[in-house]
Symmetry: C2
Subunit: 288 residues, 2 copies
Amino acid sequence: MEVMKEVEKVQNKVTELIKEGKSIGFVPTMGYLHEGHVRLIKEARKENDFVILSIFINPLQFGEGEDLETYPRDEHHDKKVAEENGADLIFLPSTDSMYPNPLSIHMSVEGRTDALCGRSRPGHFEGVVTVLTKLFHITRPTRTYFGMKDAQQVAVVDALIKDYNFPIELVPVPTVREADGLAKSSRNVHLSAKEREEAPAIQKALQYGRELVCNGETRPEEVVRSTRKFLESQTHGKIDYIELLSYPELEFVKTIERPVILATAVFYEKARLIDNVVFNEKGEETAG
Amino acid sequence: MEVMKEVEKVQNKVTELIKEGKSIGFVPTMGYLHEGHVRLIKEARKENDFVILSIFINPLQFGEGEDLETYPRDEHHDKKVAEENGADLIFLPSTDSMYPNPLSIHMSVEGRTDALCGRSRPGHFEGVVTVLTKLFHITRPTRTYFGMKDAQQVAVVDALIKDYNFPIELVPVPTVREADGLAKSSRNVHLSAKEREEAPAIQKALQYGRELVCNGETRPEEVVRSTRKFLESQTHGKIDYIELLSYPELEFVKTIERPVILATAVFYEKARLIDNVVFNEKGEETAG
């Protein structure tokens, strides 16, 4: 496995791969790889000749007071995980090499972000589409892999690729979970023992909401109300939001008659956890 | 020469070309091809295996009250010119195929546009970078060709490519002129006979300004003042602006001690003409 820090080296490598007719799978990450990332790397490995993993903690997508400084880092571990799971190249750029000068041209996101995390993280998705546009141009992938845990991110990347005709296939990958249902996340290490014990209630509550739809409930507000009540009874975490929206448009719906997402974010002492479930009007889970 | 209207067809063709290891030269235009465009096509022909010309009158880059409706069109002529000069493919998309849905993600331009045409055409360069990002992803060129007549556009494309790491080489091509010095433009057809007679004064005035620098003038405001006086004495056209700025940053300078652009825009009855000259601190013309 190759490790490259320089933008230009990766560009040269990719030019060579493209000349050889190789397909490229790209997994963009902020590092501290867990099984969710492993699943993305494995999917990319299955479907492409060459797999690139990037690790870049993008300052642009962190807001004021967010966890940029404390975001966990472990380069040694990440290299091992990437290599063991079949990555061919890790791209580890510095902030200076990604943003050598102030940008003259800015990207902003209007649809799909005035709900869920977008509302409580102003500027977050601007940072995401900016860095992804750069990374996509540097790595020129055939396919790119994103976890459905961050379903809103998948919806925004879907919009980015469609709005700007990127010649890239977006592959959404199901959320990987602990045995007790907690979604894997780099931020789980910041949970206290008691919080860790309570946190599986997040996915349980979302499944509880989904089952209401299986049993005939069609009113979004009723599903949200019951899910909130269930979750509040199971954890001391502070609920940031619980929302039910169309998917992938992430728009308000009056009745559940097409694919929707039921999503939540919960604040614990030192971590904010997110999770979701995507399902159709019958309450059947769908891929996103 | 192939003619394609569908985005997907061009994408498939380009994928094939890239697999074959072919280099692609791309000339984006709004059609009504004149010798300025011919020069771009010829340059692209010289340097690439395959030459794509796009013709798309991009509504996003026209402001309120600008000439979107009257912008001249001649598809038959354009196809002939493109073929005769060595284009391999013309891409002629419809507005609906370029913008099938409202965009969720918007691009804005901050640097390099608060001067010259950017100031009097709010939103113009936003439209330019948006459509170019789409066209670059559809045609995936090795090199792209822009005329120096629109030097500010070249500066903005330079920023777009650098800010977002597009894997594309920008090739600026010198302005093509009529025998009397008037820069070739699709808009010249809208000049009255008298206006056409006066319009060569635009380039003459800019060269007059440049010669002041050859002769030792270093004060931007003095060059601008004299250029304005010269131009006003030679034409009834209304001067929109005359500015002297650093190039390609397009920033205000206190003294002429590095490459600069002296640029102007002049309103005639039915056309607004632009022209410029780029030169160094000795007054020597440079390529831009």
